[in-house]
Symmetry: C2
Subunit: 130 residues, 2 copies
DNA sequence: GTATCTGCAAAACATTTGCAATTCT
DNA sequence: AGAATTGCAAATGTTTTGCAGATAC
């Protein structure tokens, strides 16, 4: 944490540990609820602030698995998510083998949504010209 | 529209046409703003209601490209999105060639998020046992 | 004339912001 | 003391809900 330029306050350590200790991709609110028991003074604002800080510093990934709310993941390696429509469990899927396998085993997959961010051809050309 | 079990009211036709005529993945609010000029009586609630209906009936896809708001797409074939971080333009990416090309040309890609929905191994087993 | 569709206002919900109080060094 | 951190309350922005009025068949 220190090596990433974050002073390790009590709240920050707790929130980060909370994320490290789970694979359930919790929301800010879930983290708040969980830590509230241990830190009764904790505020939702702090959870939001700290999560934003952790994301900015690259210690945590913000992921939008579905629905209206943002989830957080201490797994920062590039990966995606597989959600079982029956049990609701969310597991990590890594590029490329796993993704390709899943796409090929279409009988088990009902939906794929993916979003890629980068620089498009046009903008790449413009930047080269400069 | 009729063949999908939707009675084609004026508002419904307008909202659907609006989506058919663009590749810009508009939000409910954008559609509302655009149609408001033509249909001054139009309400945001109707736009939300109709979009939900169109999604339920499979005429439209709801996509979450980023941020806090839902976008809509009349392209219902399975595909993902590529957003240029420079110009902000969003284009469609189809499986598999395009996706694979993009993933391989890593110099241009800064982030990949993907979400897959389906039935996990465990649940698949359970359903077979029955 | 009854069922469906529309639209307003209010509610709900996640997230952000302004600012004051607290904590750390 | 001074800077950083926390936390409350209020604001924001998107989407949903309840219900009354309008429309269509």
């Amino acid at each position: 944490m220190v090596e990433n330029g974050i002073s390790p306050s009590y709240q920050r350590l707790k929130i980060y540990s909370c994320l490290m200790g789970t694979k359930s991709h919790p929301t800010a609110y879930t983290i708040f609820e969980k830590l509230k028991e241990e830190i009764p003074s904790l505020s939702k604002t702090t959870v939001y602030n700290v999560l934003k800080l952790l994301v900015d510093k690259g210690l945590v990934k913000a992921v939008r698995i579905e629905d209206h709310e943002l989830r957080f993941d201490a797994e920062v390696r590039e990966h995606g998510h597989f959600k079982c429509s029956v049990c609701g469990e969310v597991s990590d899927v890594f590029l490329n083998q796993e993704l390709m396998q899943l796409i090929e085993q279409r009988n088990k997959v009902t939906e794929i949504q993916f979003n890629i961010t980068g620089v498009c051809e046009k903008c790449l050309q413009i930047s080269k010209e400069k």
